[in-house]
């Protein structure tokens, strides 16, 4: 990492290590899961220029996977998370292979429809528990030593998972692979004429994004001990778009900031019922009309350094 980025990363780690002693850990864990989800999503929209409107399928699908593995099959948490993530990878590979050829708006439309298919599957399938979801998922003991029922143990596990995911995304976008992705985003025909198989690169990015979204969803299911329809519903796909947009598309830290703002806002507005959607929608409108760089994007511009 370059100077300012390293500094920002160090600041983020220090803040997140200190945070649970000041702020309610469950809130932080929720925000961290969504931050990882938004980072994974940003990999696609920010660096490949693909707007997926169906990422809820990966978050929710992995959640069902890990919850089922932990509760019904009695998997230990590390295996349950791994299994959930694998479910998302598989979903990502299948959906990606079918959709990656469509472009721009078509891509958004098609991913949305596939995610809706997963949603209806989740409504009807037996093992997902329909409207009830999978409840009372045991958190278990991580690697046989760490008792995840302790809030702080759970929190630091989530933090490690988040940081690992964050660094994977960072590594991916700052690698030769990431350079090719950006080239495809800027000018796909040119990248193809230079000999890059754009569809392969896009598919790999899509599957990676789905996998990391799955990691977020699988972890979230253990944190809340619940996998439910909310996570596969299309509004969830919209929410992750909003977090990323608000934080800053194509910035390293934007999705994290966006996720924390949105989850904080939801927490704050929870008493107000339907107002949450109104506020979310209004933020969407304002962001698109006047604030397209997002919080971190504007900050980076003011400091003249990409964050």
């Amino acid at each position: 990492m370059s100077g300012p980025l390293r500094l920002a990363f160090a600041a983020m780690v220090v803040l997140l290590v200190a945070a649970p002693f000041v702020v309610y850990p469950v809130f932080l864990m929720k925000a961290l899961c969504f931050a990882l989800f938004a980072c994974a999503f940003n990999l696609l929209i920010g660096y490949v220029g693909l707007l997926s409107f169906g990422h809820a399928a990966f978050l929710g699908g992995a959640g069902y996977g890990s919850a089922h593995a932990a509760k019904v099959w009695g998997f230990p948490p590390e295996a349950a998370i791994l299994f959930g993530t694998l479910v998302a990878t598989l979903l990502g590979a299948v959906i990606g292979a079918l959709t990656i050829r469509s472009r721009g708006i078509y891509f958004a439309n098609v991913t949305l429809a596939f995610a809706q298919m997963i949603f209806f599957f989740a409504v009807q399938a037996k093992f997902t528990g329909g409207e009830d979801g999978i409840q009372a998922v045991p958190r278990g003991t991580l690697l046989g030593v760490l008792d995840l029922r302790q809030p702080y143990v759970m929190y630091f596990t989530v933090l490690v998972i988040f940081l690992a995911g964050f660094l994977i995304v960072y590594r991916a976008i700052h690698s030769p692979f990431g350079q090719v992705l950006k080239a495809i985003r800027e000018n796909e025909p040119r990248a193809v004429s230079l000999g890059y198989r754009a569809e392969h690169y896009k598919l790999i990015a899509f599957v990676l994004s789905a996998t990391l979204s799955g990691l977020a969803g699988a972890t979230k299911a253990l944190v809340f001990q619940l996998a439910s329809l909310t996570d596969v519903h299309w509004t969830m796909s919209g929410e992750v778009v909003l977090m990323t947009l608000l934080g800053g598309l194509g910035t390293v830290f934007g999705p994290v900031v966006g996720a924390f703002i949105m989850i904080g806002l939801e927490n704050y507005l929870a008493q107000l019922g339907a107002w949450v959607t109104i506020v979310q929608g209004a933020i969407f409108v304002v962001c698109v009309l006047t604030f397209r760089r997002g919080v971190v994007g504007e900050l980076g511009r003011a400091l003249r350094t990409p964050l």
């Binding site: 220029g49 707007l51 409107f53 079918l98 959709t99 050829r101 469509s102 472009r103 721009g104 708006i105 078509y106 958004a108 439309n109 098609v110 949305l112 429809a113 596939f114 809706q116 298919m117 209806f120 599957f121 409504v123 009807q124 299309w234 919209g238 778009v241 947009l245 019922g273 339907a274 107002w275 949450v276 959607t277 109104i278 979310q280 929608g281 209004a282 933020i283 969407f284 409108v285 962001c287 698109v288 009309l289 397209r292």
Partner: protein, 292 residues
């Protein structure tokens, strides 16, 4: 036939046709808007719902019944659409088309949130107009008059739209502006105004569908949210931007969905998405679409 009672079969066929009529009207509006503005109007579902609500308000506050609503609701909601286009959407035409999708998504959240706040999520009843109550006895089944009316009327509206776009001078301008707006403007045609009116017209179609739906599904703040995703799949299958494609696919998929309810009810919610996946494999641009 195949051990299924004809009554149930034709009943579902009818429900399929009704749903198909709504799919066709909504995807037609989306197609028209997409053709000229190049945005996917995510607020289409919300505008469909607004159409139904305007019908309800007209009845409650002004005592104006169904026939007035059929005329006024599309105008009112279309006007709201025109205001939205002038105030917000037009600033986005220079940018990536994705921003149009995101903006209308935000608008849909706001509109649906406001209506849900005011009216809850249980439906409000809206009666069938007296002229269209009762049913025809076809011998093998009873056909409610109102449902027949919905199918016939939306078919007429769809075909009229197709005629205007594909066969008239106005439609020729419209199609030309879809291909090359700069050149059309150079010929002295006011393209920005055409864009505004097109958006208003597409939104009006959604509202019209909403009025038609009000007596069947009740007036519910969430009626559009449930509908719009399926309509998106219909648009993908038909091919975006194709007028006839939207109409044919809309009705056909409604019928397919209806039949699925008879033969394999578990799949009735997903069948359209499965078809979409298959179509994408064979023809990524949709059945009637052209590759860009």
């Amino acid at each position: 036939m195949l051990g299924i009672p004809t009554q149930a079969l034709f009943g579902q066929l009818l429900i399929g046709l009704i749903n198909g009529a709504f799919y066709a009207l909504l995807s037609l509006g989306l197609s028209v808007i997409f053709g000229l503005l190049n945005i996917i109007n995510f607020a289409h579902g919300a505008q469909y719902m607004m159409g139904a609500f305007v019908a309800y308000f007209l009845l409650q506050w002004a005592g104006l019944g169904y026939w007035w609503a059929l005329l006024l609701a599309p105008l009112v909601v279309g006007l709201v659409g025109i205001l939205l286009e002038r105030a917000m959407l037009r600033w986005l035409y220079q940018l990536d088309h994705l921003y149009g999708l995101l903006l209308t998504f935000g608008l849909a959240l706001v509109i649906e949130g406001v209506f849900r706040n005011e009216f809850g999520s249980s439906g409000l009843p809206y009666g069938i107009p007296p002229q269209l109550t009762g049913s025809y006895n076809l011998g093998f089944m009873f056909l409610p008059v109102y449902r027949a009316w919905v199918v016939v009327f939306s078919l007429v509206v769809c075909l009229a739209t197709w005629y205007v776009v594909e066969r008239t001078k106005l439609g020729a301008y419209l199609r030309a502006a879809t291909e090359n707006p700069a050149l059309v403007q150079a010929f002295g045609i006011n393209v920005p105004r055409m864009i505004t009116l097109t958006y208003g017209f597409g939104v009006g179609l959604a509202a019209l569908a909403g009025v038609l739906a009000a007596p069947i599904y009740q007036v519910n703040p969430l009626m559009g949210a449930n509908m719009i995703i399926v309509v998106f799949a219909v648009v993908v299958i038909g091919g975006m931007g194709s007028i006839m494609g939207s109409i044919v696919t809309g009705f056909a998929l409604g019928v397919v969905e209806g039949f699925t309810k008879v033969f394999y009810p578990e799949a009735s919610n997903t069948v359209i998405f499965v078809i979409m996946a298959l179509v994408l494999l064979v023809r990524p641009a949709g059945l009637f679409g052209r590759t860009a």
